[in-house]
Amino acid sequence: MKVLFVDDEADIREMIEIALIVEDDIIPTFAASGAEAIKILKTQDFDALLLDVMMLPPDGQEVLRVARTLPNHQSTKIVMCTAKTSQEAENELKALGADQILHKPFKPVKLAGYLRDL
């Protein structure tokens, strides 16, 4: 499956890349900012998106909004990755079209299984 990981933390991106090396069925693409992610989304199709919420604008929420306006990402599974625990914030994200909320910190070892279960 094709998955786009968007996170402004290089370490997180690298950790995910290492975790997924052994997972042959998952083809990761990485974006280091919201702007880069939107650019990629406009041209490529993905099975799933994993968006970090807290980024410099355009943040994860903005990327989510844009993604859902793109015809090729209407049914793409979108997972929002956040450290926030506020229920209101999560509800807002879900209202914008997020399928799942993944709370930081997540276990990279379990990430592949999580993505397959989407």
Partner: protein, 658 residues
Amino acid sequence: MIHMDTRLNANAPQNEGRRPFVGVILLLVVLFIAGVAYLVRSDYKRSISEAEVQLVNFAELFEQSVESNLAVANLQMWNLIDRLPSRRFGTSADIETRYGDMMRQTLEQIDQIDSLVWIATNGNPVWSSVEQLTGTYLGDRAYFQEALQLGMNEYAVGVPIIARGTGRRLTPIAWPMVSQSNQVFGVIVSSLGEKYFSDILTLSEIPTDMHVNVVASNGAAAFESEDLSPIAFERNIHASRKIAALDLTINVSRSKSAVLAGFYMRTASFIIIASILFASSIGMAIRLQRKSVQLADGLSQSVQDNLRIVAAQREFNAIFENVADGIVIFTMDGKLKRTNKMARKILGQDDSDQAVADLKRLLPDLSILTDDLPPQEILTCNDQAVECRVMKLTANNMEIAYCVLTDVTAEKRLAAAKDNFVTSINHELRTPLTSLSGSLDLLQDRFADDLAGPAKRLVMMASRNADRLLMLVNDILTLQAIDQGQFHVRVKPVDVSVALEEAVAFNSGYGMGSGVSLLCERTEPGMIFVDPDRLQQIFSNLISNAVKYSTANGTVKIGAVETNGDITFYVRDDGPGIPKSARGRLFDRFTAPIHTSGVQMNGTGLGLAITKQLVERQGGEITLDSRTEEDGAVETGTVFFVTFKMHTAPTTPVEIEA
């Protein structure tokens, strides 16, 4: 103490004022008694002297009556003697025939005398109005002898005698029968009887108690009034008068007690009336004095009260003016407008009127408000955040708005900063923690075989501490959510047995490292009405704690007990127990280490604080029971009890904003 002192001072002058008053009253009483005594004494003297004057007057009157009577009698007697023959007057029978009627007539005419005897110079009576005297010899009588020596117009008075015949008291009077040649040819003897004197007595109105006697110079009584029993001479008052014509003395006397009978009555009634008047006026004076003392006390009390009120007012004003909160008081009709220093500072006005007007502009219309206005934030011209609480009070029949202004700018800034800080910490800690903990996981999972023994241990240590740090961040966030009211409880009916099964399933992993096992001892049928996720969080916290403090290879026992419609879950360990001194602060945040260093386990210090919040936000209660060696227990350990009300399941899940 101050109050006590003023009390004492107030009492002192009161007593001082009362003392001279008592003196005045005593003086008045003494004067009254002296005055009464003086009046009584002079009345007594007057009564006595009045009686004495009366007696003297009476004696005089008596004497005068006797003398005038005697003068009349004398004239008549001399007239009779003139008409009697001085020679050859014959026998008694001849005298009777010729002069008997004339003499009897004269006897009748003269009231003063009651008998008449003609005695010849030889001492034999020649005629007598009293039969008994006929034939007796009277020549030896003193009055006869004396009369023989007398001349014209003279008479002799004899010593009063008791009449032989009648037994009556008589005072004889003898007139010499003198012829024209101055020859005494006989003596006419008569007598003054008691009746004569008593007749005189009846003529004048005299007191019935008066004692009268008439005595001759030798002490023989010519007359004695009958009534009185003998009375000691000293206890009488008396007067005497000599009746010169008869050589008799009249003694008049009255007993003092009789004279003073009127005096006693008068004095008694006078004393009674005077005493009543005096006592009532004294009583009135005392009452008046008491009243005036009370009045004075009341006055000084009220003066002191006034001073106290003024002092209290001043104190209140100082506090009111300088209190740290702004206070604005006004009445709806604008009669009262008052502000304190802080209120004026907050509202940026120097003047109470302007400040009140400003505040009114910022508040809703209070006149339509029926109840207190809950705290609300108002923005003043200085762009401060001010919280204003309005209380409607009624004082002196006026509706008063009492507004408390609190400058919350700093508080709000601080709260915002705190929120911001926590949110930032959350993100800023979690992001590196994700990398750290994720990397270590991957290292252990994928590359453990490539690591040497000590390196593996170091990686494990790093992993464990990363997890612990993460737990701390989670706990802080949970508590922050609870504090900010962002904590959600989704309440559902939960089966007690299912909850316990899940607790065992989810938490069995905790004890694996130390060989501690987890066992569900007992359960109860029934449902409780809680958030199942939060319930598991509670179990997780309590079980992980219990496992931490259990002995190696021990057992943590959990279960549920139903009592009176309550379900109580328990989590029991066989650890060392919690020292008594620490039990009170067990649920506080970041509690200081409870156990000695050997026993104390690493933790965030927030687990039980969160658990307590989780339990209480769902309407439950958490308690504990712990036994330590210090308590003398053989089997040490701690049990935590979490009690929820057993509920009849509602049809739809309810969300509680906690």
